[in-house]
Structure formats: C-alpha cells, structure tokens
Amino acid sequence: MVFASLVKKEVMVVLKSPVFIAGILFLVVYFGVLGRVIGVATEQVAREAAGSYIGVVSEDLNHVTQRLLHLANVTLGGRLVEVPTVEEGLRMFPAVVLVPRGFGETLLRNSTMYVYGYASLDSISLAQSSRIQLVYSVVRVLEELGRALVAAERGVNLSEISRTLVPRVEVRVGERVVDFSVLSSLQFSTMMFAYMVGILGMLALIYSAQSVATEKEEKAFEMLLTLPVSRTAIAVAKVVGAVILSVIMVIAYFVGFSFTLTSIRAPASTEGTETVVMTASIWDLLQFLGSEGVALLMLSLGLMLLFSGSLGLLIGSVASDTRVAGAVAGPIGAVLYISLLVFQFIGIPLNPLSSLLGLSVYGLPIAIFASYVLGVRTIALQATGLATAVTILAVLAVIRVFKSERILVGFSIRRRPRPTG
C-alpha cells in the first residue's frame, strides 16, 4: 500500500506538471503529423516505383530480343516505352534499360548476358533509390522471360535452361554520373553523418538545459551570477561546456558503433550481381561535396551545436528544476533529431523553398548535401545564411535572458511568483 502510494507520488509529481502534459500533447501531434508526412512520401515513392514507365533503348534488332522486349512489356503492364537514346529516355522517365547489340545471339548461346541500366535521382536519399530498383525489376523479368524463350526455341524443358542477366547500372544524380557502389557509400555516409550529428545536437541541447537547471538546484547559481564575470561569458561557457560534453559522448558512441561495424562482415560478391559493400567511405562524400561543400558542412555542424546549446540554455534558464528542463529539452531534442533523419530518408525536392530547411538549423546539413550533390550551390548558401541568422538570434536571446532577472524568476503566465525573504 505504502509502496503503491510512493509510486503514485513519483508519477503524479511529473504528470501534474503542465510542461510535461504540454510535452506529451506536442509529441502526439508532432509525430502524428510526421507519420502522415512520411506515409504520404513513402506511398508516393512506392506508387512512383510501381507505376513508373521505363525507357528501353534496344540496339539489338535480333528477332529474339524484339520478342523478349515485347513479352517483357506485356508482363510489366505496358510500362516499357521504347526510346531512341538513353539521354532522351532519362528526360522522360526515372529509369532506362539499354539492351546492347548482339544481346539476342548471346542469349541463345551463353549463360551470362549483360544489359545497361540508367537511373536518374533528384537526391541521394534512400527513398529515391527505389528508382534504381526499377532497373532491377526489368532485369529480373528479362532474365526469366529470356530463359523461357530459349527453352521454347530449343524445345526443351525450362528447368534445363540457365541464364544470368547482369545489369551494369549507372546512376545519375543531378548532373553527375555516380557509380552504384559510390551512391550506396554516399547514402551510408550521409545517413551516418545525420545520425551522429543528430545525436551530437540532441546531447548538446539536453546537457546545456540541465547545466542551468542543475546549478539552480544545487543552489550555486545565484553566487555564480553575482561574480564579477560578464553574464555573456557565463552563458557562452555553458554552451561550450555542453558542446564539449556532447562531443565526448558522441566519440564514445562512434567508437562503439565502429566496433559494431567491424564485426559485421559484408557478404561475398556472387557472380551476376553487383553486391554493394558498405564501406562507409567518407572519402566519397568529401569528393562529392568538394572543399567548399565540406567547409559549409563543418560550418553547419558548428551552427547546429551552437544553436542546440543556446536552445538548451534558454530552456534551462526558464525551467525551475532539472525535471522541467528534461521534460522540455528531451522532446524538443527528439523532434529535431528525428526530423533530421526523416528528411535524410525521404530526401528533399531541390527548389528555392528547400533553403527554408536552414530555418530549423538541424535541416541545414540535409540542404547542403542535396544542394552539392545536385550541383545547385545557391540553395546551400541560402540555407546556411538562414541557419546562421537563426543561430545568432538564439545566442542573442540567451544573452538577453542571462542579463535579465528572468534567469531567476522565470517566465510566469498564470502563477504568481512568491517573493522570498
């Protein structure tokens, strides 16, 4: 009975906090909206993949090849459209398959054949990769139908025919041509970057929020504020301290994750398929971004940490204790972090509105990736400008709060603060 009462007290003291309730409501609404956005985006991608037309360039006039393509088109519901060149095909369709000269002859004689696949992506997000799957879906159909055709030509049982169709896939991202394995590596490293940077930002936010709240609880804050030290220095030191702590923690995460990665063995390449080995090559990413892109990415990292630290400090400054600070900083950090990963996953369309991602600061690395990968650097520069402005505003807000008495009395909406003494 007493224990139940104790547990009830533990729950109620938090549940009755308006901040906690507001946090729950916010999370429910936010993730409801976010889930809907992801759902719509995923549905759209799936619909696009299922319903997309695929261009076919046939260099081989052999009747076997023509017959095969006709059958494939019927099998795929008429989604194969013959186009004169790969370039024209990619202007109209997300993917093009090129059947080379001599394909039909090879199909009849050899067990291994080659076709060329081309996919055009608007970003390097994972969701966009479904376009590459279009090429593979055509290849699988051609392979199966090819076997059936050969069996029919020879008048033998299908099981006696073995054919492997190897696709040589070239991916075009914006104006660039990227090897499929490099693309996978880029996707992996950008996801890893988003993952690590997101954790870094979230930790900086939580640590800085707690630094003020804890200091208030420890009753050392008032003494600190009356020292002959500028309030700006106190605030900036707290942000820098939170950033250092989060970097230490992320290094620990990274080291731990590296152990995990090294213990995962990539499957050996099998003949006839291009197995992608996740090399996590940061080098591919750096080459893609160029020195300017890398510099902007580092700047975005700095801005994000400064923004997170400042936002956390604002939360900690007005929070009465660590419980309230945690109840507010935790959900906000989670929202920012998950948003970063979601944007990275579904990709962003590259248009002038994309630069607005910079307003969230956390979205800046995504805007920079998309911008440099697709070769439209103005979006990255605009987004960086916006993120810089937002970060400066956050820092100025922190300094303003630190210089005001709000740092002690907080922000009261309904409750009247009780004067002490």
Partner: protein, 236 residues
C-alpha cells in the same frame, strides 16, 4: 536606497517603498518575517533583480546600469547557498575565487577560504557528501575570502545548529572589524541581529517600520529585546 519598489511579474509587490542607508564599515541588519522583502532587497543590491522603482546605489554604482562595477565590490551569500555536488570543496573554493584573483593572490585567498571553512580532510571530498552546515561554511568561506568592500549575506546562519551559527557570527564580525568591510545582512533571528549589527531596520510587508541601533530601538519601544521591538513596531 530610497523609495525602493519591486513588483514581480504577476503583480506581487516584493518591496514597497523601502528607504535606508548603510554607512561604510558598519554591520547593518534587515530583520523581518518571511515574505517581508529582505531577500528581494538583497537580491536587488546583488544585481540579481531589477528594481521597479526607486533609487539604489552601492558605493556610488547603480546595480542596474553599472552591474559589473557593483559585482566587483560585493560578495553575495544567498539564503540557500549550495555548491556543485560533484566537485570537491577545494575545487569549489578555487573556482569561485579564480573569478576575483589570480596567481599568488589566488593561492593566498584559497588558503584563507580553506582555513575559514575548517572542514579538515573533507575539503578534498565531493560536496555531495557534505551536510547543510558544511555547505553553508563552504559558501561563506568563499564569500569572506573574496574580501569585498560589501558583504551581502542573506540569512547567514539560517537552518544551522547553535555551534555553527556562533562560529559564522564570529567570523562575520571578525572580518568586518579586521578589514573595515561593510556588511548588509538579513535575518529573522533577532538575537543574531542584536549580537552582530551596529544598526537594524525592521521590515514588514516590504516597508521599513523602524530603524536604529539595537539599543535605540529597545529604548524607543520600551522593549527588553528586538523581538519585543518587532512585535510592538508591527503590531502598533
């Protein structure tokens, strides 16, 4: 300080037209019940709160527009001063004194604070293991070793046992006399104020109801001690 008014966000009047002046070198006490405005007044002087109205000067400096100058001449002991629980007492002392001193002078100040705190080997242990009295002594040691021109002490012996209270009173009095520092303290312990203070203000509901030396007040209100003075001054 003249006609000081402090209205908190939300409308509560913490101080309501308070006027008093503390002479250089004296120990001045603000006494009154909880909620009378003592802490609010001290926090305004310590640059933590901004007055809504009125005139305040600390050695000629305005706590609002010249807060940095005020912080250089004061050292503030809050009512519930604590310390960072994961630092040692020595770390805490060194951190706070480094804001005022450097080099050899810093080391002297640290030694002085360690002497004042008198915590023995506990000074090298994390603060989380300290009792309330030990934390109070630690905070006071930093304040005293800071050697400011004005000590602002909010309930310096609040919640402490008789032995520690006596030790702190002697330390405060000794420092004020030895270095000619000015002390402004608040307390609702009338005996403490009577023992320590040269002059006293009795504050009630944010207003000053009586001021003078303890002896003057006793005589004026025909009272045996300050408790009776308070009751008569407030109750009429």
């Amino acid at each position: 300080m003249r006609d000081l008014v402090k209205v908190y966000p939300g409308g509560v009047r913490g101080v309501d037209g308070l006027t008093f002046k503390v002479a250089v070198g004296e120990i001045y006490g603000l006494v009154g019940p909880n909620g009378s405005g003592k802490t609010t007044t001290l926090r305004i002087i310590a640059t933590l709160l901004k007055p809504s109205k009125g005139y305040v000067r600390v050695f000629g400096f305005d706590p609002v527009t010249e807060a940095a100058r005020v912080r250089e001449v004061i050292a503030y002991l809050p009512e519930e001063a604590g310390a960072y629980r994961d630092l040692t007492g020595l770390d805490f002392i060194r951190f706070f004194l480094r804001a005022r001193f450097s080099g050899r002078r810093l080391e002297e100040a640290v030694e002085e604070a360690v002497r004042i705190a008198d915590l023995g080997s506990d000074i090298r242990r994390p603060v989380r293991g300290y009792s309330k009295g030990m934390k109070r002594l630690l905070a006071l040691s930093v304040v005293l070793a800071s050697r400011p021109r004005l000590f602002v002490l909010d309930e310096p012996t609040g919640g402490l046992d008789v032995e520690r209270s006596l030790r702190i009173r002697n330390l405060v009095k000794g420092y004020a006399r030895s270095y000619g520092a000015t002390v402004l303290l608040s307390s609702h312990n009338m005996l403490e104020v009577e023992y320590l203070c040269d002059r006293v203000s009795i504050i009630y509901r944010g207003r000053l109801v009586a001021e003078g030396t303890p002896e003057e007040l006793r005589t004026r209100y025909s009272a045996r001690n300050l408790e009776e003075v308070f009751v008569r001054a407030v109750g009429g």
